[in-house]
Symmetry: C2
Subunit: 198 residues, 2 copies
Amino acid sequence: MRGQTLVWEGDDAIIVANIISGILKVSMSISDGREQIVGVIFPADFIGRPFGQKSPYSVTALSDAELCIFSRSSFDAFARNHPALEHKLLQRTLEELDRAREWMLLLGKKTATERIATLLLEMSIRLSETGCSVEQNELNEFALPLDRQQMGDVLGLTIETVSRQLSRLKADGVIGLPDRRMVSIQDRRRLQDLSAAA
Amino acid sequence: MRGQTLVWEGDDAIIVANIISGILKVSMSISDGREQIVGVIFPADFIGRPFGQKSPYSVTALSDAELCIFSRSSFDAFARNHPALEHKLLQRTLEELDRAREWMLLLGKKTATERIATLLLEMSIRLSETGCSVEQNELNEFALPLDRQQMGDVLGLTIETVSRQLSRLKADGVIGLPDRRMVSIQDRRRLQDLSAAA
DNA sequence: TCTTCTGTTTGATCTGAATCAAGGAAGATC
DNA sequence: GATCTTCCTTGATTCAGATCAAACAGAAGA
């Protein structure tokens, strides 16, 4: 259910799950309330912390979602006896690590405009991978799974800066904003230039 | 050899290696030269990108180092036939992902002072884990494996900000700086408070 | 010893994004 | 249809850290 938190930062990591549908966020926070979203999970992705005692982060649904949940202990045992599953899990974890590091570059070095451009492109790609029926690799209009506050928490920016940057991209004709959740990419090339890709 | 780059960002990922001794950095950069250090690798850690075509990041020695190198293709094949190795690799990758996410919180939300305090504590812990002969978990004086520029590149700060923050911690009696590489932690409790841990 | 070079510190100023502060729009609820 | 309520936008101001600009320290040569 949207808004529901499945795992709390610091709690015992008792579950592991596979996402069937829906989108979730993985977040970490500081005691004074500052929060950073450290991952966005799409269908077919994995959540949980196998082989660990505590979960270092929270997992919360951003939309209604269907999951396939396992208890961690039984999952751990099962995985150890099924190398193919562990192999798949290793691959996904390596991909997730690559994405986390890509995001460290964004958080450490990119400007606000570059961050927003990068996020919009990333969302368009990951959402198109999700809607897997059609092989559409250039999703140019989509509903953001994040509100402005959450975009700020992913990008290390405030809600006001996110809003201002989006307004500017719209004014420049790079994107359209039909409503608060929808984005249309009108000039993908320009957005790529603005994203300061490697 | 110190300063030597073993893997270039974007190159074919042809090697995989286990670190015997020494310290290395993993970094990503933007075409205009901005660089973010996305990982620091200690002895017993792993480098390389198994099961991938391109390495998304560079790996460079920060000190002289000894590695145990495998060609990626033979390693991949070997790993697939040795579940225990894959299991170990999965565990290490999960740990590295946790560290990367912890750092995303730092890069996205922490102040300069908090970043420096966090780095000093992290270094004291990881260096003490490395010098594994003695079970010393509170390493209070150590040589930084990073120079000021590199500290800035890990923390998403400039060299001047790093220097100023260190000077202030020294002036406040929290740390000592016997020479440009050495740090002594004089008030660990205070450093922990300043680090804004979860 | 003097010089050079590299890395570091410190100071002055600037600036991008944060913070503070209203408004506005679009659903919900009554 | 009016009134909340929630989320978003826009404007004014501030501030932490970046940038610009010198000096300084210590190691390595000459």
